[in-house]
Amino acid sequence: MKAVCWMGKSNMETRTVPDPELINPHDAIIKVTRTAICGSDLHLYDGFIPTMESGDIMGHEFMGLVEEVGPEVTNLKRGDRVVVPFTIACGSCIFCKKKYWAACDNTNPNAHLMEKAYGYSGAGLFGYSHMMGGYAGGQAQYVRVPFANVGPLKIESDLGDEKVLFLSDIFPTGYMAAENAQIQPGDTVAVWGCGPVGQFAIASAFMLGAARVIAIDRFQERLDLARSLGAITVDYSEEDVSVLTALKDLTGGVGPDSCIDAVGLEAHSNELQGIYDVVKTALFMETDRPSVLRQAIQAVRKGGTLSIPGVYGGLLDKVPFGAAFGKGITMKMGQTNMHNYMKPLLERVEKGQIDPSYIISHRITLDQAPEMYKIWRDKEERVTKIVIDPWA
């Protein structure tokens, strides 16, 4: 089959690789009908996530048709149409039982690598480094899905693939970001980053009762989408725009009730700290560039909530923890507990409350994927979301 392989930093290649096979009894093989490139895949492309190896198959946002199931998969059969969550969960451990699916104890075969870095390991992820499990991803024609009795969401209706594909990651991730923001009716919410997760965070913040959402980015195509959802936009790249001043101006000097960092570890900044982080990460003295995190901690109102769906990987410099303490803020973060959100959000799509396909800008083939990684990373061609048809 064809698959998009990580072959080194800034080097993706579409290669012919062996088809996946059933390995464990709860496995299923899915014939992928649509997959997507996630913003977090760009962190892999840029070499920010350790333990990627040549030949690793990319991709954790995918859906398709069940091709084959293992002997202990009882809920799926060949031909079923499913969306697969990017986090793999066993459904049986203490954390799955508490519905912290992303913290599943039993799905990372390389948990010892995570334990060294993080103390404990979370769930295994598709196509996201050996530290996160070493599983082959779904930017391919077929993929093996472990614990298929727990994760995949069956799509019974005739909704098109593009309307439900993003239930695999970014829609639930944006929704959980808004939920983590502890929004009360009438609140003002600021969202940094208007990429796909930021878009769904904005939409979800309104669903959860926010009266005003302020969207921060520097790309017109993204800010346009944010305004189409009803957000007020701040373009931080414009001359004379200070995000902190803008957020004060837009909240009567109080600051947003909640701030959502939908950017993560590769933040860009046009302030001095942006140069500081670029230099330090280049010298391996810092792993992440946390300029959005710093700004969000500064910006959030006293007693407010900071929600972090953006991915962070390692050790962060100059995080203003004194400000966080001094204002008594709450921070909530982490990989998405996908399994809690897929079904309720599918219902919202089925009821027509939201059509997640509005963010798609590019529809491509597997062979075009390596080049599109570069184009998206370099922010060319007004990319907002790339969807791949593996059979085109």
Binding site: A3, N108, H112, G133
Partner: protein, 217 residues
């Protein structure tokens, strides 16, 4: 807490405890023993969904140990408290097989099992205890294992790139996954593109050259 003399364990040092694998004695946290005199210790614990009795039974079924213990290829029961263990030190066709006899020293259903080797290619002893978790949800399973750095340990370290301490930790992780989820997660056999020279080398640094036990599948 169950009481038992430390002398059950052939190489055990004097420690102020009643049950060697336990981490709390008289209200105080007890750190694991330090490596000393060619003897290494490892203690690991896991919170496992399941009752102490059934987890005990799964562990006590030594013939099934190859399903979840790395490199163990066969365990043959040789008597009411004895068994013969065989381990293949790598997956290569010319890999050496080492064997030893093991004896159960203490066997309290649903509470604990203690064992030691009684001859063969390995000097080892260990204990596993099963305690209901304070939350009332699940069982805390604690393993204390000791090895002489003899043939077994050396073979492991030099040939398979997994030191014996990590092997004990991984085996408990496999046991937990099999008990809770009915399978041990595996990704080593997943499809992939060309690994190149460096990629193949790095697999061993990730522990991926040690085959994950199949869990019987």
């Amino acid at each position: 807490m169950t009481s038992s003399p430390l002398t059950e364990k052939p190489y055990a040092q004097d420690r102020p405890t009643s049950t060697p694998a336990s981490v709390v004695v008289n209200g105080r946290y007890l750190p694991p023993p330090e490596d000393k005199d060619g003897k290494i210790w490892v203690r690991s614990s896991a919170l496992i969904v399941g009752d102490p009795q059934s987890l005990y039974a799964m562990w006590r079924d030594v013939q099934s140990a190859p399903l979840w213990q790395e490199h163990v290829i066969e365990v043959a029961v040789s008597g009411p408290t004895t068994s013969r263990w065989s381990m293949k030190t790598s997956n290569d066709s010319d890999a050496k097989v080492i064997s030893w006899d093991s004896e159960v020293l203490a066997d309290e259903p649903g509470v604990r099992i203690a064992w030691r080797s009684i001859g063969g290619d390995s000097d080892n002893a260990g204990e596993v205890i099963f305690e209901a978790a304070p939350s009332g949800q699940g069982t805390i399973v604690t393993v204390l294992q000791e090895f002489r750095m003899g043939k077994l340990a050396n073979a492991w370290e030099t040939l398979v790139g997994r030191n014996p301490k990590q092997a004990v930790i991984e085996n408990l992780r496999h046991f937990k996954a099999l008990a809770e989820a009915g399978e041990i997660p595996r990704s080593q056999l997943d499809t992939h593109g060309d690994r190149g020279v460096i990629g193949n080398f790095k697999r061993s640094t990730y522990g991926e050259t040690v085959p994950t036990p199949t869990g019987g599948n």
